[in-house]
C-alpha cells in the first residue's frame, strides 16, 4: 500500500501503461514538457520521449481526429482534453467518428483510444473550466464512459481503460485531484465497468460518481448522528452502468437519491431513476430523487457552492424521501 494523490495515481497508472504497451501514446495540449496543466503527465516525456508523449497543436478536434488515425495505424493513444469545457470542438470526432467507426466497419476497425477529461467544479475557476459533460458521451453508443473518485481507482481504472479495445471517455474529478488515499499497486482493482458499494446501509441508497462520491460519503457519515443508515454506491462506469448492485441495494432500502454535479435535466440521474423504477417498482417506498446541478449554465465561481450538490442538499433529499 502506498499513499498517493489522485494526480499521482493517474501519473503512475499512465506510466505502467506506457511501460507495458509499446504502442501506447499520450497526446494533448501541454502534456509533454509542462507535464499537463494539472501535472498528471509530469515527467512522462522525460522518461518515454517526445514521440510517445506528444505535445499537440491547440486544436481539440485535431487531437481526437488524429488519435483515430493513429489507432487505425495500430497505436493506442491516450488523449488529454485540457478542461471539460474545451471538449466541444472535438464533438464530431468523438460522437460521429470515434464512437461509430468500429460499428460502421462491422468490427474490422477497433479504436483503442482513451480520452482523459478533467471535469467538474468546486475549484473557483473561470467559466468553461467547471463543467460536467458526461451525459453527452454516455448517450452515444460506441463510447464507454467512466470516472474515478479516489486515487486507487485512478491508478487502476486508467490502466484498465487503456487495456481494452473500445474507446473510453475517462472523466477525472479535478477537485479531487489532490485528495490522498491508499493505493495497492500490486492487487488489480475492481473491474472497470463495475459499480462499488462504498458504504453499506439500510435506510436509503445514495448513488454518486466522480466528485460527488465524497459528498455522499460525508452525508452518510453526518446522517449517522440522526440515526440514518445510508448506503453509498459509486457508479464508476456511466456507460455501461452496472445495474445489478443498484437494483439489489434499492430492493433492500426502498429509497434512492442520485447525486451528480451535471444539470439534472436528461442527465445520468434521470436514466438511473427510470431504470430503478422499471426494475424495482414494487420495492420502492418513495420516488427516486435527484440532487444535481441546476438546469442553468455553470454559474460564476462565487456562486458554485450554491450550485453544486452538497451535504445539506443530499440530506434534505434523504429527508424528503423518508417523508413518503
Amino acid at each position: 500500500m502506498t499513499t498517493m494523490s489522485m494526480i499521482k495515481g493517474l501519473n503512475e497508472g499512465l506510466r505502467r501503461v506506457l511501460e507495458d504497451q509499446p504502442k501506447s501514446l499520450v497526446m494533448g495540449e501541454d502534456v509533454g514538457r509542462l507535464g499537463g496543466v494539472f501535472r498528471v503527465t509530469d515527467g512522462l516525456q522525460k522518461d518515454f520521449g517526445a514521440d510517445r508523449i506528444i505535445d499537440t497543436p491547440l486544436a481539440e478536434s485535431g487531437i481526437i481526429g488524429t488519435a483515430i488515425g493513429l489507432a487505425m495505424r495500430g497505436y493506442r493513444p491516450i488523449c488529454e482534453i485540457q478542461f471539460d469545457g474545451f471538449v466541444y470542438p472535438a464533438f464530431d470526432q468523438l460522437v460521429s467518428q470515434l464512437a461509430k467507426i468500429p460499428n460502421r466497419s462491422a468490427g474490422r476497425i477497433r479504436l483503442p483510444v482513451v480520452v482523459r477529461i478533467p471535469y467538474g467544479g468546486g475549484i473557483g475557476a473561470i467559466e468553461h473550466h467547471s463543467e460536467s459533460p458526461e451525459a453527452y458521451f454516455a448517450h452515444t453508443a460506441g463510447l464507454k464512459v467512466v470516472t474515478c473518485s479516489n486515487p486507487a481507482d485512478a491508478y487502476w481504472m486508467i490502466q484498465q481503460a487503456a487495456a481494452g479495445d473500445d474507446p473510453v471517455i475517462f472523466f477525472e474529478p479535478k477537485r479531487r485531484y489532490h485528495s490522498k488515499g491508499e493505493v495497492d499497486t500490486e492487487q488489480a482493482g475492481l473491474d472497470l465497468y463495475r459499480a462499488r458499494t462504498v458504504r453499506e446501509g439500510r435506510t436509503a441508497t445514495l448513488i454518486a460518481y466522480g466528485p460527488t462520491v465524497d459528498v455522499a460519503e460525508n452525508a452518510a457519515a453526518a446522517a449517522v448522528e440522526e440515526g440514518l443508515d445510508l448506503e453509498v454506491i459509486d457508479l464508476r462506469s456511466l456507460s455501461p452502468i452496472d445495474w445489478e448492485p443498484l437494483f439489489a441495494s434499492v430492493r433492500k432500502t426502498g429509497r434512492a437519491v442520485v447525486v451528480h454535479e451535471a444539470p439534472g435535466n436528461v442527465g445520468i440521474g434521470a436514466e438511473v431513476a427510470a431504470r430503478l423504477t422499471e426494475e424495482c417498482f414494487y420495492s420502492l417506498e418513495a420516488p427516486v430523487l435527484r440532487v444535481t446541478g441546476y438546469d442553468v449554465p455553470y454559474p460564476a465561481s462565487r456562486l458554485e457552492d450554491d450550485y453544486l450538490p452538497n451535504l445539506d442538499r443530499v440530506l434534505d433529499a434523504v429527508d424528503r424521501s423518508l417523508e413518503h
Binding site: 486544436a59 485535431g62 488524429t66 493513429l70 495505424r73 467518428q97 468490427g107 479495445d165
Partner: protein, 383 residues
C-alpha cells in the same frame, strides 16, 4: 450611412479572382482539344499499356458511376453521389498511388476505389443501406467513405503521423493521400489536419477535387484565396492542376506522393474540375446553375480529350475503344446483378459491433429485438 467604415476600393489586381470561366493557370499536360502540352516541372512517361489502361479506367469508372445513378432512379439505391466529370482527377491520382500507399476517401471516390482494385460493391451496399460500408480497410489500404465533410482529413493526418513514427519512409516508403472537396476546405478539421501534417512533417498528400460546388454553393462562398494558394500559409507546397487532365493529375500526384514517402512532408493538390451531375441524386442542380455552364465544361470532358490524344498518338484505335466499351458494359451488368442481390441484414446485426466487448445492456436489447422479430414472424405464419 457609415460610409467611412467601408473598406477602400480595391484595384482590379488585388481583388480576388471570381470563380469564373477564366482559364486558370494550372499544370496541364493535355489540352481540352487533346493536344500534348509541355510543362517545365512535370512530365509523364508511361508504357503504351499504361496509357491505354488509363483510358480503360476512365471509361469503366464513368459507366459504373452512371449505373449508380440508374440504380438509384430505379429505387435500388437510396442515394448516389455521381462523380461524372471528375474521372480524370480520380483515375490520374488513383493510378499514381503505389501498392503500399493508403487512401482516405470522402464519399465520391468510386474511381479511386476502382484504381485500387477494391471490390466496388461496398460503395453500393452503403448507398443501398444494406450495411454501413465496412470492408477490410487495413488490407485494402483504402478507408471507408467519410460522410461528415473533412472528418477524414484528420484521420489521414494521424495515420500519416503513425507511418512516420513507424519509420516507414524512404524511396520505397509509404505515403498517405486524403481526398476531399472544395467545401471541405471551409471546415475546421481540414485546416487542423494541414496544421498537423505541417508541424509533424507527415507523409500526407491532400488531394482536393475542386468540383466548384458544395451542393449549391460555389467557390466564392468557400474561400477568397483558392486552396492551392492557402497551402503556403500552412507551410505546405500547393499544386494547382487541371483536374480534367488524367496525365497531369497522374504526374503531380506521383510527384507529391514520392516527396511524402521520402520524408519531405505534406503537399496540397488542388485539382480543378467540375461536377457534371447534381451533388447527389437527391439534389436539383437546375435551381442554381444553367445549361451554358454545363456546356462550357462538356467541352473540357476528360475522356474525350484523352481519347483524341490516344488516337492521334496511335496508341489506340477504334477497335480498342469498342473493346473497352464492351468490357465496361460487362462490368456494369455484373455489378448490377450483385447490387440487386444484396439482401437486407438481420436485425441482430445492428447490435453486434457497437463495442469490442458487448455490454450486458446491449446484449439484452439484442435478444429482445430478435425475440420480438421472431414473435412477429410467428404471428404472421398463423395468419
Amino acid at each position: 450611412m457609415g460610409d467611412t467604415q467601408r473598406p477602400a476600393k480595391k484595384t482590379a489586381k488585388s481583388r480576388p479572382k471570381p470563380a469564373s470561366t477564366n482559364e486558370p493557370q494550372f499544370v496541364q499536360l493535355l489540352s481540352p482539344e487533346g493536344g500534348r502540352v509541355k510543362h517545365p516541372d512535370y512530365d509523364i512517361d508511361l508504357s503504351d499499356d499504361e496509357y491505354r489502361g488509363l483510358y480503360r479506367d476512365l471509361v469503366i469508372t464513368r459507366e459504373l458511376d452512371a449505373q449508380g445513378t440508374a440504380l438509384q432512379r430505379q429505387g435500388q439505391l437510396g442515394l448516389w453521389p455521381s462523380l461524372l466529370g471528375q474521372e480524370a482527377a480520380q483515375v490520374g491520382s488513383g493510378r499514381a498511388l503505389k501498392p503500399q500507399d493508403t487512401v482516405f476517401p470522402a464519399y465520391r471516390e468510386l474511381g479511386v476505389q476502382w484504381c485500387r482494385g477494391i471490390d466496388l460493391i461496398s460503395a453500393f451496399a452503403l448507398f443501398r443501406g444494406t450495411d454501413l460500408g465496412g470492408r477490410d480497410t487495413a488490407a485494402d489500404r483504402f478507408n471507408m467513405y467519410a460522410i461528415v465533410i473533412a472528418s477524414q482529413t484528420l484521420h489521414a493526418a494521424g495515420y500519416a503521423m503513425g507511418v512516420a513514427m513507424d519509420g516507414a519512409l524512404g524511396e520505397d516508403g509509404e505515403a498517405v493521400v486524403v481526398y476531399h472537396g472544395d467545401g471541405a476546405t471551409s471546415e475546421g478539421d481540414f485546416n487542423e489536419a494541414l496544421i498537423w501534417a505541417g508541424v509533424f512533417n507527415s507523409p500526407l498528400v491532400f488531394f482536393c477535387q475542386n468540383n466548384q460546388y458544395a451542393i449549391s454553393e460555389t467557390n466564392a462562398r468557400q474561400f477568397r484565396l483558392p486552396p492551392h494558394r492557402r497551402a503556403e500559409g500552412f507551410g505546405v507546397p500547393g499544386i494547382f492542376v487541371d483536374g480534367n487532365d488524367v496525365l497531369a493529375t497522374y504526374a503531380v500526384t506521383r510527384d507529391a506522393l514520392d516527396r511524402a514517402r521520402r520524408g519531405e512532408g505534406p503537399s496540397l493538390i488542388e485539382a480543378y474540375t467540375y461536377r457534371m451531375q447534381p451533388h447527389t441524386t437527391s439534389d436539383d442542380a437546375t435551381r442554381y446553375r444553367d445549361e451554358a455552364e454545363l456546356d462550357f465544361w462538356r467541352a473540357k470532358d476528360p475522356i474525350v480529350r484523352y481519347r483524341k490524344w490516344l488516337a492521334a498518338e496511335g496508341l489506340a484505335d477504334e477497335a480498342y475503344f469498342a473493346q473497352i466499351d464492351t468490357e465496361a458494359g460487362e462490368q456494369v451488368r455484373a455489378l448490377r446483378a450483385r447490387v440487386m442481390a444484396l439482401t437486407d441484414p438481420e436485425v441482430s446485426e445492428m447490435f453486434d459491433n457497437v463495442y469490442a466487448e458487448m455490454p450486458p445492456g446491449i446484449a439484452a436489447q439484442r435478444a429482445e429485438a430478435v425475440d420480438f422479430q421472431a414473435s412477429l414472424e410467428e404471428g404472421s405464419d398463423l395468419r
